[in-house]
């Protein structure tokens, strides 16, 4: 069973075994407006939890995206390069950013579940 956790900075991470797929939440995508560019990290790069990992640029502003957990990037969503609009269309599906090999599953405990995140953005 896959489980999705959320950060207070509006990233989500769906746990798939030892790895996690992450992106930004639909709330964040709404607030940003039309996304026009996404800068993703290189595969193989490692980040600590909270590190600046990607940049998402919309018609309004450029914003940093932080690593929800520590780990190594094992895949990135190359489709965003040509079609950044996927982030608006399906932020929690086709608009995913990267896949991370989770270094410490304990860090997930500090993240919010869906109900807590919903309360956070209200």
């Amino acid at each position: 069973m896959s489980e999705t956790r959320y950060t207070k900075d509006h990233e989500w991470i769906r746990i798939e075994g030892e790895e996690g797929v992450m992106g930004i939440t639909s709330y964040a995508a709404d607030q940003l407006g039309d996304v026009v560019f996404v800068e993703l990290p290189e595969v193989g790069k490692s980040f600590k939890q909270g590190d600046e990992m990607a940049v998402v640029e919309s018609v309004k502003a450029a914003s940093e995206v932080y690593a929800p957990v520590s780990g190594e990037i094992v895949a990135v969503n190359d489709a965003l390069d040509g079609e950044p609009g996927k982030v608006n269309e399906a932020p929690d599906a086709d608009g995913w950013f990267v896949k991370i090999k989770i270094a410490d599953k304990g860090e997930l405990e500090g993240l919010m579940d869906e109900a807590a995140y919903k309360a956070h953005v209200e």
Binding site: D34, V36, F37, E57, V59, K60, A61, P84, G85
Partner: protein, 526 residues
């Protein structure tokens, strides 16, 4: 419609002429003349003058003759002039109306400035002229430097930076040079509040520092507890904008200066908003170590569209030795420009280097000094007070229909958020576009980022109360229209401008950066 539905015309001239407006034969409407790109107006095989083909002359090009068209549009002088004058008529400028773009300080450039900048001794000189022939220009630079140091109470100023961000770079390079001279190369962390100008963190990173952000408190100012928690022996300094980009004075600035100095760091103050406090506050008294001054904002030199700027940077005693070359100095009756680092070292200084090829933007220096001397120190103080008064007038007149982002009074900018548009179906962007239909340039929107749907209005001291009233009446009317459900007035705006709502998303996602002639694109399609 061929014109500007996607931002620019890209059809051959005959097609264009037939339909910029489709209800007239000419494609123009009234005095709104259709104007294509200059490449579409002129033809490559045309020439503005008739030149006979040279006959019977041997070629001396050694086989390096041009093989094809170089692609320069051929136009006569009147055609060229009309092209640019027509384009200029489509532009919005401070000379046409109130220009409320917050954080940009679009104020009137008195025509006396222009008269003096055109004096041949200032306007027609060359930077490589012998120094003995430009003594007056050097004296002007020296006099302006004196005014800037007096107004800020600082002992040194670098005149060469050519814009605000360039001035920031100058200040941060001096801080880095000072830290290196102290042997403290481990100090690389720069604290930057959320309420600082967006260029501040970029400048710090450009200088090899890392940026540590300080959150704003609920009042839109630096969160002092968060600031104190971030101090440490790896801190190089802080970059604070005051008044900040929320249009608020950072009241704790003195304590911030003392604490950063205690921690061994330097205090960079972004002086882009000096126009709100000039004549009333001397930043040197507040403990700043470096601050740039935008002559093109505070001292009325004209700007817009990316230039021309001028960002002289003042320094405290601690940083003064590291100020860059060149600088002017006076020995008796003679002025000299110190151009080389070894000359400066002979003066006892230790410049970090040089920022520009020459000495800075002379035309801006002349205009700024003209503004200062015609206003006097009391006039400059009044200009700052009037700028603050005008912004507060707007805040007071509109707070019953729009929602101010923060309680209390503001400095030179009135900042609103988009709470008053909640559930109306109208966004900040729509509201700004509707202002175009009303004949106003929109305010700054979605900045500062700490305010939701921000609308930042800076009227400057240029506007009379009558002008402010007309502007406020318009915004009041728009705010009430948005609340009473006239959504289309906003979402379809601008309806009356030559170019309608542009597809900004498409432009950003698929930018077309190079114009190609129609025949080339036709070939490419084959």
């Amino acid at each position: 419609m061929a014109m500007n539905t996607q931002g620019r015309p890209s059809k051959p001239l005959h097609v264009f002429d037939a339909g910029a407006y489709d209800d007239t034969f000419s494609g123009s409407r009234g005095l709104d003349q259709a104007e294509p790109l200059i490449f579409e107006r002129g033809h490559f095989d045309n020439c503005g003058v008739d030149l006979e083909e040279p006959k019977g002359l041997p070629t001396r090009l050694g086989g390096l003759d041009r093989e094809g068209e170089i692609g320069v549009p051929g136009l006569s002088e009147p055609e060229t002039m009309r092209h640019y004058v027509r384009l200029s008529r489509k532009n919005y400028a401070i000379d046409l109306g109130l220009y409320p773009l917050g954080s940009c300080t679009m104020k009137h450039n008195p025509r006396l400035n222009e008269k003096l900048a055109r004096l041949p001794g200032f306007g027609d000189i060359h930077p490589l002229q012998p120094q003995s022939t430009v003594q007056g220009a050097f004296e002007l630079i020296g006099e302006l430097a004196h005014w800037l140091m007096t107004l800020t109470n600082t002992p040194a100023v670098a005149m060469s930076p050519k814009a605000g961000a360039h001035g920031e770079l100058c200040g941060m390079m001096a801080i880095r040079a000072a830290l290196d001279a102290r042997g403290e190369k481990h100090r690389r962390r720069v604290l930057v509040p959320e309420s600082a100008h967006g260029t501040n963190p970029a400048t710090a990173v450009q200088c090899g520092f890392t940026v540590d952000e300080i959150p704003a408190n609920e009042g839109g100012r630096v969160d002092m507890e968060a600031f104190k928690a971030k101090l440490g022996d790896d801190v190089a300094g802080i970059m604070l904008t005051n008044p900040n980009t929320c249009g608020l004075f950072e009241r704790d600035i003195k304590e911030i200066a003392d604490l950063i100095h205690e921690a061994g760091g330097y205090f960079y103050c972004d002086g882009a908003n000096f126009n709100a406090i000039v004549g009333r506050v001397r930043p040197g008294d507040l403990g700043i170590d470096a601050m740039h001054i935008n002559l093109h904002k505070t001292f009325s030199t004209p700007h817009g569209g990316g230039g021309p700027g001028s960002g002289p940077t003042v320094f405290s005693e601690a940083l003064a030795p590291y100020a860059p070359v060149p600088y002017v100095k006076q020995d008796g009756e003679t002025w000299t420009m110190v151009e080389h680092e070894d000359e400066a070292r002979a003066d006892g200084a230790d410049p970090f280097g040089r920022m520009t090829a020459f000495h800075g933007n002379m035309g801006m220096f002349t205009r700024a000094l003209s503004y200062m001397m015609s206003h006097g120190s009391d006039g400059l103080k009044q200009a700052a007070e009037d700028a603050v008064l005008n912004a507060n007038y707007i805040l007071a007149r509109l707070k019953h229909v729009m929602t101010p982002a923060f309680d209390g009074t503001c400095m030179h900018e009135a900042l609103f958020d988009d709470r008053f548009l909640k559930d109306t179906g109208v966004s900040t962007l729509d509201f700004a576009k509707a202002m175009i239909d009303e004949g106003y340039h929109p305010m700054t929107m979605y900045f500062p980022l700490v305010v939701h749907g921000a609308m930042l209005i800076e009227p400057t001291e240029t506007e009379s109360i009558g002008s402010l009233d007309r502007f406020c009446d318009t915004l009041e009317g728009l705010a009430l229209a948005a609340r009473s459900g006239e959504t289309e007035r906003f979402t379809a705006a601008p309806r009356h401008a030559p170019a309608k709502r542009l597809d900004e998303t498409k432009a950003a996602r698929n930018p077309v950066l190079r114009w190609t002639p129609p025949q080339d694109s036709a070939q490419a399609a084959e």
